[in-house]
Symmetry: C2
Amino acid sequence: MTEQIDIIQNIKRLFTREEFPAKTLLVKEGTLTKKLFYIDRGCCRAWFNNDGRDVTYQFLFEGNFASSFETIISNEVSWYSVETLEPTVMYSVGIEDFRNRMDQHPHIKAFYYHYVEKRLLFYQKLFVAHIKDSPEQRYRELLAQHPEIVLRVPQHYIASFLGITSVSLSRIRNRK
Amino acid sequence: MTEQIDIIQNIKRLFTREEFPAKTLLVKEGTLTKKLFYIDRGCCRAWFNNDGRDVTYQFLFEGNFASSFETIISNEVSWYSVETLEPTVMYSVGIEDFRNRMDQHPHIKAFYYHYVEKRLLFYQKLFVAHIKDSPEQRYRELLAQHPEIVLRVPQHYIASFLGITSVSLSRIRNRK
DNA sequence: GTCTGACGATAACAATTGTTAATTAATCAC
DNA sequence: GTGATTAATTAACAATTGTTATCGTCAGAC
């Protein structure tokens, strides 16, 4: 845990501090992402275009990383975009630079892979929630487990994240 | 790619070959898993109990690994069970033994983390498919992308995996 | 062989969600 | 502030899925 804090402090020391207003595009669908962002303050959403409609599949808050994993892992273009939802404070590093640091510092590599492991378990749970629960149950669960999302994110993005229409989410919210 | 093949050959050389009939329980929900299995021949399903109903959330075929990631990563008990669906040939290794080998052989560690990265992207896509597609679209997609699942696995497990009832899957299959 | 249980198809009905459109509320730009 | 745009609510109806139950088939146990 103290090791975790050390890593965060190293990030703040070694990465470049940047500030962005709301609705800034950090990662653009179909391109090679140049930077990895650590979110110090603010939040983002990741989404992609599905037959002309936005599908938001992820919210990222303080303490998380925003980038295209595909680019980091295998230099493929991103299939999604990332944009800020609020004025945001980031610490960024170039992807190539990040890869070099991982090779040079085993503890950075270990931290990165631990993060990947956690993300794997996170997405596994997210998927499982979709096959075992109804949309209403998923909303209640989101409210209970991640109230910050419901408080800080516009409803139609949450509806998209839950896999339902904004009309349906509005109905669920207004059930007795 | 040749490196991949080397790793598989090492697995077959270093792990213990085991054969299991269909319906053998390899991982039991709520327990600490003792082994990591490499599937050489046959297939498995991973599932858990949800208010008295089985929910199958994963099928594992030849070339995949079966175990509890939670146990490997952080020594927590498994929240799911794994059982064979067909007579199966496995290569197994004790979890503790596997951890030691990872520490001693960097290429095993690299292989493991590469596998974790791939699984992360896999589950991310699985989750995304659930928020962007209808159950019918997901079934058609499964049929197109993974026909082996539809051919080798009983329908009610597939329905569970798709997040619908077996009645609904039967209807979808019989739409013109 | 016969019995049993598991599996899949089908039917009838309830409940939920999607779609479209209209209305109100909130937010943003100037 | 004012006007324009975007977001959220509500309504009406269509489409889909869930639920429960019945039936036929098949495989395995004995």
